[in-house]
């Protein structure tokens, strides 16, 4: 598993690896929002938590189809399926690699980019916290979606349609926790719900991912 994770991270940071893809997309969206919405600070700081969360979610979505597609094309996935590593482990390694290359940079960038949206410093802490808790769920759910569409040519559209509804609970509780945090109201409930979704997804979905991969590799 460590070998696979290390290889995926190495591939991501080399030429054509798409390491910065999600991050740059996130940056562009956040920079463009004030131009589109207008310079009123009250409006911007009100929509900031939601915008940051939606942008982070879409940025995570952007790199999902690479998770298995490249390995499937060059035959690596078939060989991994016959290798002495369970496909569940492969699924976990793939999710972890996606999270490290997408979720972690987004978590770090979001509070900084929040300045452009007049996000107040208290809320910025919550943005970072919720993204840290929520993005693993995005990666694990996304890996499941990528496994479902592996082998489908141009499966990106199908992947988005399958995965976006599954992202909704994470988005609702993530953005809600930030909003409550910004308003100074107790945010424990949405934070716990968010953590619950992540814990559940991380515990269960690798098994589903492996089962789906087995069917798709037949």
């Amino acid at each position: 598993m460590i070998a696979l994770l290390r290889r995926d991270l190495m591939l991501a940071t080399r030429a054509g690896g798409g390491f910065g893809l999600g991050l740059v997309f996130f940056l562009i969206v956040i920079v463009l929002i004030p131009f589109g919405v207008g310079p009123e600070t009250a409006v911007l700081s009100r929509i900031a938590p939601g915008v940051l969360w939606v942008a982070a979610l879409l940025a995570a979505l952007l790199s999902l189809d690479r998770i298995f597609a490249l390995d499937h094309e060059d035959g690596t996935l078939t060989l991994l399926a016959t290798a002495p590593v369970p496909l569940e482990t492969v699924a976990v390694a793939k999710s972890a690699a996606h999270w490290i290359t997408t979720g972690v940079p987004l978590t770090i960038a979001a509070p900084v980019l929040g300045i452009l949206l007049q996000l107040d410093p208290d809320a910025a802490v919550f943005v970072a916290l919720t993204l840290l808790i929520g993005t693993p769920a995005l990666s694990v759910i996304g890996t499941f979606g990528a496994a479902l569409t592996v082998g489908v040519r141009r499966g990106g559209l199908l992947l988005s349609l399958l995965v976006l509804p599954l992202y909704v609970p994470t988005l609702i509780f993530g953005a809600e926790a930030v909003r409550r945090g910004a308003d100074g109201v107790a945010a424990t409930t949405p934070l716990l719900m968010l953590a619950g979704i992540t814990a559940g997804a991380v515990a269960l979905l690798p098994f589903a991912t492996a089962a789906v991969l087995r069917i798709n590799l037949r």
Partner: protein, 204 residues
């Protein structure tokens, strides 16, 4: 070492081969022959455990099978050495020093795999077999895009490293490998498409 009893294999819900039985003793190779589309790849994938047989049994020691497909599973952004090291890590082995010369890739060690020619990529793909050290190999067209010299390198590797150490190989190929091996003609086991189609399976 490898035993197959009354095996039926299916592709896309339709049975393509049935009633296959054969044994391959340790140190022996078996060459599969048959027209395109007869089910050589399907048979090899089934033997390797990538798909379930529709009937029959396959017997070989657990954790000893390895499959090599048409595709080489090479990452072009990694160097030749990194590609092999990855498989060594996955299988918990190491890359033997003698391997570089055996497959004539010693000079390519630190090149990015993306810059290799088709034949060089194929040699790198086959070198993986020397890294993972499995006893039962299922090889699908291993000599595609190899020149005569490289084919001999590969056959030498099979004979000296693999078969002589008690390994087994089942090889689907159209060329003569000059390997002292039994040949299995798949033609008599082929199932005509129309009478065996299972509608439900095909639909799913």
């Amino acid at each position: 070492m490898l035993g197959v009893r009354n095996l039926s294999v299916a592709r896309g819900g339709a049975t393509v081969l049935s009633g296959l039985s054969f044994d391959v003793a340790a140190g022996q190779a078996l060459i599969l022959r048959g027209a395109n589309g007869i089910g050589k790849t399907t048979l090899l994938r089934t033997l390797a455990g990538l798909q379930e047989p529709t009937a029959g049994d396959i017997m070989y020691p657990d954790d000893e099978g390895a499959y090599a497909s048409h595709a080489d599973a090479i990452k072009s952004a990694l160097t030749v050495r990194e590609n092999l090291q990855f498989w060594a890590d996955v299988y918990g082995t190491s890359v033997p020093d003698s391997l570089w010369d055996q497959f004539d890739i010693a000079d390519l060690r630190d090149r990015f795999a993306g810059t290799l020619s088709a034949g060089q990529k194929r040699r790198l793909g086959l070198a993986r077999l020397g890294v993972i050290k499995r006893k039962v190999l299922f090889l699908d067209e291993p000599t595609v895009s190899l020149d005569g010299f490289s084919v001999r390198l590969f056959v030498d590797f099979l004979r000296q490293q693999h078969l002589s150490a008690g390994g087994v190989a089942v090889i689907a190929t159209h060329i003569d490998l000059e390997l002292d091996a039994a040949t299995l003609e798949l033609g008599p086991f082929a199932v005509s498409r129309h009478d065996t189609r299972d509608e439900d399976e095909a639909f799913l």
